[in-house]
Point group: C2
DNA sequence: TGCGATCCAACTGGATCCAATCTACATGAC
DNA sequence: GTCATGTAGATTGGATCCAGTTGGATCGCA
């Protein structure tokens, strides 16, 4: 999150984004769910969270509503909230959705991609590789999406990006689990470099290559995940 | 919403779905926004809403969080919430997203479409036509999406349907405005019948026909909307 | 009259309090 | 001993209360 400044560069120069407590809370809680601190099925007790952040239960409740809308938790009336669980088929469906939407947006983006955009992407890719080789899992998850997004932004498709962002939040935690379990990211790393290179050439075949990249990542993830889910019957 | 029972038929037979006040509130408020009672840019004052529903401001605040997550309102800290506004390009983008996702899911659905599914769709279409000819705008909006969804459900793509549902909520209010302004729905009505007929024949060309149907609807909507937006500079 | 500082009303944000509901354990009847 | 019922503790849902912010109105001054 230390690259906020770069991201906001097109906005007003001196804009300080204040956020309400519920927003800050939901951001922090989201990160803790993605990091695996709160696992699938874990109950989230309002009072405990409130105590941790030294605030009342009220902002916690509003944060829960946001997390629920993002699909990270499910809450039943008078029974509290638990971290949501996604069946394998739905995880794969999310990867297929990504494939569909990212191919579409990448195709549109190619026509507007400037050299500065590509330089920016290259920079993110470099940081992503550093994060991967220092085993900084959280940063790998963040930067992986950051890299993809940097390629799509020139398309100017705000709604598509928003949906993709939401999908990414949903699957990020599983990607992190995969990274913790296996080291099957080298393939993705090679592919990322090839994607960037093809984008530099404005080679339209990159669109179909991206589709394969995403679907392969999904399959790899599911394979690792299913191994874990049968051995650990927490699901 | 009177077909709830049908939809839940595969669940436990006697399940009563209680909902919390915030949920009920956000549902009601969403409907009021979609119906145009609250227009783009209108401020939503917590206290006023709470008074209307004879409850405290607390459940209203939680409902606002949900509506914000759905993209129907935007709230600034210490300045309250207003009904969100979508620029024309983003409305068209949402229609293009619909085209992409609905073609994909329809294609998958075709392989599982049973005769019962088709009978159900036909029934909805009939109700949709009744609603249109009795000028029941709210029902037209609801049933239009209901018809589309009934064709996609057999695909079993939960996440895709959830995203499409979200998109539909976003554009429903503009569809209703269009229905109020013009009567350009006859074309869509003809197309609906043709879509259903092609589905009955399991004709795969229905996928591309659906794409045209959605894109045409988007263009018609934007045309009507732009006329209104230049004459009424509320945006 | 025009500009600016100050004050006030309206509203939102957050804390605390009370009520409703669920869970688990204990008690008692058969 | 087992099953049903009752009850207490925990937890959430909703109301009320207080503090902080905003925006506009008012007043003062040049």
């Amino acid at each position: 999150m230390d690259n906020m400044l770069e991201q906001k560069k097109q906005r007003s120069k001196y804009r300080l984004q204040r956020q309400s407590l519920p927003e800050a809370l939901s951001e922090s809680l989201r990160e803790r769910i993605l990091s695996g601190e709160f696992k699938e099925g874990d109950p989230l007790i309002q009072e405990a969270i409130a105590a941790e952040y030294e605030c009342s239960r009220m902002p916690v409740r509003e944060a829960f509503r946001q997390l629920e809308a993002a699909g990270l938790i499910v809450s039943k009336i008078h029974k509290g909230a638990i971290v949501s669980t996604l069946p394998s088929e739905q995880i794969m469906e999310l990867f297929e959705l990504r494939a569909t939407l990212e191919c579409d947006i990448l195709s549109r983006s190619l026509e507007h991609l400037s050299d500065e955009d590509l330089a920016h992407s290259a920079q993110i890719l470099k940081r992503l590789e550093v994060a991967y080789h220092t085993r900084d899992i959280a940063r790998v998850g963040t930067l992986n999406w950051e890299f993809h997004r940097s390629l799509y932004r020139p398309a100017g498709r705000i709604q598509t990006l928003a949906i993709l962002q939401g999908i990414n939040v949903q699957i990020d935690r599983y990607i992190r689990i995969q990274l913790l379990l296996t080291s099957g990211f080298e393939e993705a790393e090679r592919e990322h470099r090839q994607i960037l290179s093809m984008c530099k050439d404005r080679d339209r075949q990159v669109v179909e290559f991206m589709r394969g990249h995403i679907i392969r990542a999904g399959h790899n993830l599911l394979e690792a995940l299913n191994k874990r889910r049968v051995s650990d019957p927490a699901a």
